[in-house]
């Protein structure tokens, strides 16, 4: 156990020492990785916040339930709505109320005057708890089958559209992440390869006096991991600053719509994902470089 600890502690110390000696180069490397990683991270933040927006806007999508003109079971439907687990709230507008509103409203008064009697049905305006398109469609289908219901209508097509666009955005984040991840593996791998080249002599001497291959690999693998981690932290910093900067403008726009919508800062799990993927990419890059470059020393 203590040997294992030594085997890992020692190269880690060595690598941190080397990084401190080349502080500028190390920080520059962190910046390169940070900037590259924060591109998909910013896009993700935008998409993620927009998808929260679909759930959080004030004019929530509703289901309009129009009853048949001769429906007599209004109270039963009301009781059913009250019991229903998926419904947050509902509002009843009787046909007389709707009719008088229509007559009073300037825009529709003329049309109302030309009608002989009230053509409007009783209606419930229902706000479901979950506004996801699937849920809305399911509720609508269910209510359409109820007795006395003429038409259950979802006025939420825009939710569907926005959702589709967001799915596209998520795909774009994924594609960008894969492409940039590949670029990062190459960049880190190349840096590690150069380090191996400059330490050629040391590797040769170590091999001569009995160093095992893992002993020689370890410092370079740790270097890759630390580059990744440092880059991830840099990306996090940039992302936070960008989000804060955006929020000035977002606040202005949101105020115009009387909304208090703001971009959220990255939360615990997204920080973890960002750092983990950065570290993973660093390890992968150095792993490839070490495998390819050290092979030439290994028949020594």
């Amino acid at each position: 156990m203590s040997l294992w600890l030594t085997q890992h502690q020692q190269p880690l110390k060595l690598v941190i020492g080397r990084m401190r000696n080349n502080l500028m180069a190390t920080l520059l490397m962190f910046c390169v990785i940070g900037v590259t990683l924060c591109l998909p991270a910013i896009l993700y933040t935008v998409v993620d916040n927009l998808s929260r927006l679909t759930g959080g806007v004030e004019s929530k999508p509703q289901i309009s339930l129009f009853l048949k003109l001769d429906a007599s079971n209004k109270t039963e439907i009301e009781a059913q709505l009250k019991k229903h687990a998926d419904i947050a709230s509902f509002e009843f507008v009787s046909k007389d109320d709707a009719w008088s509103k229509m007559q009073q409203d300037k825009n529709t008064a003329d049309a109302a005057a030309s009608l002989e009697k009230n053509p409007l049905p009783d209606a419930f305006y229902i706000t479901p708890k979950k506004v996801s398109p699937d849920n809305m469609a399911r509720l609508q289908e269910e209510m359409q089958k109820w007795d006395g219901v003429e038409l259950a209508q979802v006025d939420a097509n825009w939710v569907k559209r926005l959702d589709t666009i967001l799915k596209l955005g998520k795909k774009a984040v994924f594609v960008l992440l894969v492409l940039l991840g590949f670029a990062l593996i190459t960049v880190i791998g190349n840096t590690i390869r150069l380090q191996i080249m400059t330490q050629r002599e040391e590797i040769e001497v170590s091999k001569l006096i009995g160093a095992t291959n893992p002993f020689i690999r370890r410092p370079f693998l740790y270097a890759g991991v630390l580059y990744g981690l440092g880059g991830g932290l840099a990306a996090l910093l940039i992302l936070t600053l960008v989000t804060l900067l955006f929020n000035f403008s977002v606040a202005e726009i949101a105020d115009l719509y009387a909304s208090n919508f703001r971009l959220h800062l990255p939360n615990g799990s997204s920080i973890l994902v960002l750092l983990a993927s950065a570290t993973g990419l660093g390890w992968l890059g150095s792993y490839f470089a070490v495998n390819r470059t050290l092979a030439q020393f290994e028949n020594l």
Binding site: E201, E204, L208, I209, T212, F215
Partner: protein, 220 residues
């Protein structure tokens, strides 16, 4: 114990560097491998230390057959040897202490344990006060002494020196050889390659040395 039986070594596209060599070295021997340049001295030392494998024949080191060792076992074989090279092979971006501590680190020894042993080794070769100095600031003789300190710090059973005095003037050369003789006196097997057996051998070892003289890859 080191035993060579009908050992040949041929490098790709080359003539045979060593031709059917057989000899035995006992624990605690002082051995000189002599011969002109290109006679195969370095190749012989490399075969002994597990840096090369024979093309044919068997090399036994402490009754382990080197040809049959797995690649992963080779590093552990090499740790039994302290190696001293003509060109020192010191690391010039590290100070003296860090150069000497390298074999210990490879063996997984660090911290205070390692520090004690490094200082003991530096003290033995008279470089204790140069601990923090960079190797490039040392004279040729001091660099070779530093190389000896690195070779002995992990207390190897065998000490192998490939022309350790080749680049040094006579005074320094005698000094280096005396360090090597001193290790033989405490039971280390010392194997030295050089053009010829040194002229002024101390009397207490002159009687106990073994000479392997190589000519065109053959023992004569």
């Amino acid at each position: 114990m080191i035993k060579f039986d009908q050992v040949s070594k041929r490098y790709p596209g080359n003539y045979e560097t060593l031709k059917r060599i057989s000899f035995e070295i006992e624990q605690g021997d002082l051995v000189f491998v002599t011969g002109a340049s290109g006679a195969g001295k370095s190749t012989l030392l490399k075969l002994i230390a597990g840096l090369e494998r024979p093309t044919s024949g068997t090399v036994l080191i402490n009754s382990q057959n080197v040809s049959q060792l797995k690649a992963a076992a080779i590093p552990y074989l090499r740790r039994q040897f302290g190696l001293i090279f003509q060109d020192h092979k010191l690391l010039y971006d590290r100070n003296c202490y860090e150069n000497v501590v390298l074999p210990l680190n490879i063996n997984g020894i660090i911290g205070e344990d390692a520090a004690k042993r490094v200082r003991a080794a530096l003290d033995k070769v008279g470089l204790l006060d140069k601990e923090k100095a960079m190797p490039i600031t040392l004279s040729g003789g001091e660099q070779q002494r530093l190389a000896i300190a690195r070779a002995v710090v992990s207390r190897p059973a065998f000490l192998i020196a490939d022309e350790p005095t080749g680049n040094l003037d006579e005074n320094y050369a005698a000094e280096i050889l005396e360090f090597l003789y001193a290790f033989q006196q405490v039971g280390v097997t010392v194997i030295i390659a050089s053009h010829e057996v040194p002229k002024h051998l101390p009397p207490e070892i002159a009687s106990s040395i073994k000479v392997l003289h190589l000519q065109h890859g053959e023992l004569v």
